[in-house]
Symmetry: C2
Subunit: 390 residues, 2 copies
Amino acid sequence: MTMKKIAILGSTGSIGLNALDVASSLGGLIDVVALTANRNIEVLAGQIERFKPCMVAVGDESAARDIAGVAGSHGTEVLCGEDGLVRIAELEDADLILNAVVGGVGIAPTLAAVRAGKTVAIANKECLVAAGEVITREAKASGSSLIPVDSEHSAVFQCLKGESRSSVRKIVLTASGGPLVDMSAGEIEQVRAAEALRHPNWTMGRKVTIDSATLMNKGFEVIEAHWLFGVDPDRIDVVVERKSVVHSLVEFVDGTVVALLSEPDMRLPIQYALTYPDRMETRVKGLDFEAMGSISFEKPDYDRFPCLRLAFDAIRAGGTVPAVLSAADEVAVEAFLEGDIRFGDIYRILCEVVAGHERREADSLEAVMEADGWARREAGEIAGKVARRR
Amino acid sequence: MTMKKIAILGSTGSIGLNALDVASSLGGLIDVVALTANRNIEVLAGQIERFKPCMVAVGDESAARDIAGVAGSHGTEVLCGEDGLVRIAELEDADLILNAVVGGVGIAPTLAAVRAGKTVAIANKECLVAAGEVITREAKASGSSLIPVDSEHSAVFQCLKGESRSSVRKIVLTASGGPLVDMSAGEIEQVRAAEALRHPNWTMGRKVTIDSATLMNKGFEVIEAHWLFGVDPDRIDVVVERKSVVHSLVEFVDGTVVALLSEPDMRLPIQYALTYPDRMETRVKGLDFEAMGSISFEKPDYDRFPCLRLAFDAIRAGGTVPAVLSAADEVAVEAFLEGDIRFGDIYRILCEVVAGHERREADSLEAVMEADGWARREAGEIAGKVARRR
């Protein structure tokens, strides 16, 4: 492959750190031209020293002041706030924008990058869950390509390589089942954060790990798959594969199924997104089939993990409903992580917010952000009430 | 896809019959312009009535006389002998030649088709096992494409779609283990034809079913994979997957593995070969992952199934050795099916023939055919001696 210039939005998070590791391992093939972080100035400072980006963006003025010294000594320009994020997302000099920001704050920069015709590697879940309609429409208009980073979508994306989209019969997303897969409904209701954060196969950020425990994460992936691959929710299945060795599968119209397997190592889909359409070497070992034992697939339990059904319902309802679900989930998970509400409350809060939402078309960023803001307020209020009752 | 004109060499065998089924199911997309059969005139007559090919070839003059009436009434020209086969393999009017002939007699027509620049769907094992060097060299020179029909090679071929050959780290061919997978060495030695013909997952011709029982078939597939995909034998693995649901896998340089799965239905890879690069609908169901239970992989047992090792040794030795192994195997399997020798004698005869062979370069059809003829005579003699001792 030829050298690529990349900008990483959210470089101090789990995906961002891994992406920088991958960029280093690819030597001169990746030039990191811009980075953004919210408040983790210490880590960002180290990244500036190591990668010497020409530009960084941070969360606010105070963070900007804190990074000014290090940035100045490397000739790195410092931007701040959402405007800063968006400016980096549109950066003329970048061939690829990796959006690894966590949360709804990732939506606007993705849209900006897409409108600027950039190739965007999407690790931020919210942008496609909440604003998939707008983003895919604008990407089509500008000719921007979207490359998934998430292991499941990367797997589907790779299984579709060289295939026509019209020959897809079904997409099958795999789920590890999460840390609570063997718990009873009663145990799940009461599970503590520490336990819910103990994912069996993947080390990820806290928000997405809790979403993996509720299977809300898998639900969001269904919504993302719908937008990324243009497949109706009725043609998207979820199966539990506990080893996280099969990262997803595609069934074609002839009955053939293509599956993507690997060690559960986040750097693989990240590297694939950075090097696509090339595939570069890694030191990741192939699978030892004989040592691996058996692979099995189970139906997910929609009763113990009702958030998964919520996601299917949301994408079928369409419009602003997925945006509302996504925003409310951010608030509810935060409340759970703060110890304010029980694990089981997350689902109930989401249900209540969605039920109270008046669906609108999600055909503009404004419509999405309005729904998003409304859902956050609603979820916050409901979570507050629940917390006071506990 | 646009309409394709195909010629089927070996239309009355297992693959040929299935290919005609597939052609029918694809309606007007496939026009069957030529057929060949050896002696199964009755079945060929029915095929002429149904598909009205412009040309057929049969094994000999007597067969030609037998088919003359039916052929005449449909304006079908009748050719005979190996010349007939070769003429059809080069048929100007055909877009695709499906070589489904069984045995070494399939080598010359494949080479003819390749030299004529045809796209050749290869179901005949012997041509790549014995003459892989010549055939792939000539295909490169003429620009002819080779499309595998065998489920394992079709799987690899499909897993490689859109990928660069240089990004392949390893090819992993799956094996069902065959009908004798759980037998002891002593039981295998004495197994009768009826039992060895009882393949757990596939209904195929008798020769290939016995080869599946010895795992010689898998060994031949290793040799074919070497030539089809340009991968050294050290980078080809065999794993046992008893359900024949995973048809093979490719490991790429980044550690990612792509696998192809489906119901074990021969019509799938046949149709893929006929419609490639398009993928057309079938009525074959996708996999029911939850009903399927688990998939597991085991190391093949090279001690109980030493023919597999013979194949690896043969392709490493190269030159005329694989041709000798292939030809000797045809004779030995035939002797076993006739009841002349024991199952365990097949391996011993192959060993003796290979050990007695003076390796030469296999850089011409003549060299290959000379080795082939020598091996048949040797194997016949040894089998005769063994039979007289029994």
